[in-house]
C-alpha cells in the first residue's frame, strides 16, 4: 500500500527530474549555425580534394600514356610502300601475262615425243612445275 511518505518521495523525484530538463526550445540558432558551418567546411574540403586529384590525373595524362599505346598508332610507311611496290609489280606481270607479252613456256623435253608408243603421261604435285619462263 502506498503511504503518504512514498507519494512524497515520488513527487520529490519527479520534481528533481523536471528541474533537470534543460531547454525546451525548438530552435537553437547558435548550435545549428555552427553545425551548418562544419558540414559546409567538410563538404568544401571533400570537393576540393576530389578536384585536386582529378586535376593531378589529367595534368599528367601525357606521362601516363605508355610507350606501347603511342607505338600502337604508328604507321609503318616503309612496309606499306614495300607491299604496294610488290603488288604493283605483280599487277604488271599479271597484265603482261594476260596480254601474252614476254611469255614463252618451254618444256625441256617438249619437242621430243616419249619413247613409248600411244598416249603417255607424267605428273607431279605439290610444288613448282618443271617449266621455265623467259
Amino acid at each position: 500500500m502506498i503511504t503518504k511518505e512514498d507519494i512524497l518521495k515520488m513527487v520529490t523525484k519527479v520534481s528533481r527530474r523536471s528541474r533537470n530538463i534543460q531547454d525546451s526550445r525548438l530552435i537553437h540558432p547558435e548550435r545549428e549555425w555552427s553545425l551548418a558551418i562544419i558540414v559546409f567546411v567538410l563538404l568544401l574540403v571533400g570537393i576540393f580534394t576530389l578536384n585536386a586529384k582529378r586535376f593531378a590525373y589529367f595534368n599528367n595524362i601525357e606521362a601516363q600514356l605508355s610507350d606501347e599505346t603511342s607505338s600502337a598508332v604508328e604507321y609503318k610507311y616503309g612496309t606499306m610502300q614495300e607491299v604496294l611496290d610488290s603488288y604493283g609489280e605483280k599487277t604488271l606481270l599479271f597484265q603482261e601475262l594476260r596480254q601474252g607479252v614476254g611469255v614463252s613456256a618451254v618444256f625441256l623435253d617438249a619437242s621430243a615425243p616419249p619413247e613409248t608408243a600411244g598416249t603417255n603421261s607424267d605428273s607431279q604435285s605439290g610444288g613448282e612445275p618443271s617449266v621455265s619462263f623467259e
Binding site: 603488288y87 599479271f94 601475262l97 613456256a105 617438249a110 605428273s123 610444288g127
Partner: protein, 129 residues
C-alpha cells in the same frame, strides 16, 4: 589524350590513299569472291583452257577481320596455255598463295602434240564485310 586523338585522325587522313590502294589487293566478302571467280573464268576463256571450280570453302584464320578462301580448280588444255595460266595464278595481284599443283602431261601420238591437265589449290585472304 586529345593530342593522341588528333594524331590518329591526321594519320587516317594522311594514309587514306595508300590504304585504299592496299585494299584493292584483298578480296572483300561474297561480292569479291564472285568477282574473283569471274576473273579466273574470263582468263581461262581467253587462254582457251577448260577450267572448272571443284571446291570452294572459307576457313577462319588468326588474323582478325580476315578469313581465307580455299578454291580448288581443275583444268585441261594446251600445255603452253596451262603453264601461262599457272603463272598467272602465281602473279594474281591479290593477297593469295598457290598451295598445291598437280600437272599431268599427255602426248598424243596421232596428233603429235602434248596436252596438259591438272588440279590446283589456291588460298586467298578475304576481308569480312
Amino acid at each position: 589524350m586529345e593530342r593522341e586523338y588528333k594524331r590518329l585522325q591526321e594519320l587516317l587522313e594522311k594514309t587514306e590513299t595508300e590504304r585504299a590502294l592496299l585494299e584493292r589487293h584483298v578480296i572483300a566478302g561474297e561480292n569479291g569472291t564472285v568477282s574473283f571467280l569471274s576473273l579466273i573464268d574470263e582468263v581461262a576463256d581467253e587462254l582457251g583452257v577448260e577450267l572448272s571450280t571443284e571446291a570452294l570453302k572459307v576457313e577462319t584464320t588468326d588474323e582478325p577481320g580476315f578469313d581465307e578462301l580455299v578454291v580448288e580448280f581443275s583444268f585441261k588444255g594446251q600445255e603452253s596455255q596451262i603453264i601461262r595460266l599457272v603463272k598467272m595464278f602465281e602473279t594474281l595481284p591479290y593477297h593469295s598463295r598457290l598451295t598445291a599443283l598437280e600437272l599431268i602431261r599427255t602426248y598424243n601420238n596421232e596428233t603429235g602434240q602434248w596436252s596438259m591437265g591438272g588440279n590446283l589449290t589456291f588460298k586467298l585472304s578475304i576481308k569480312e564485310t
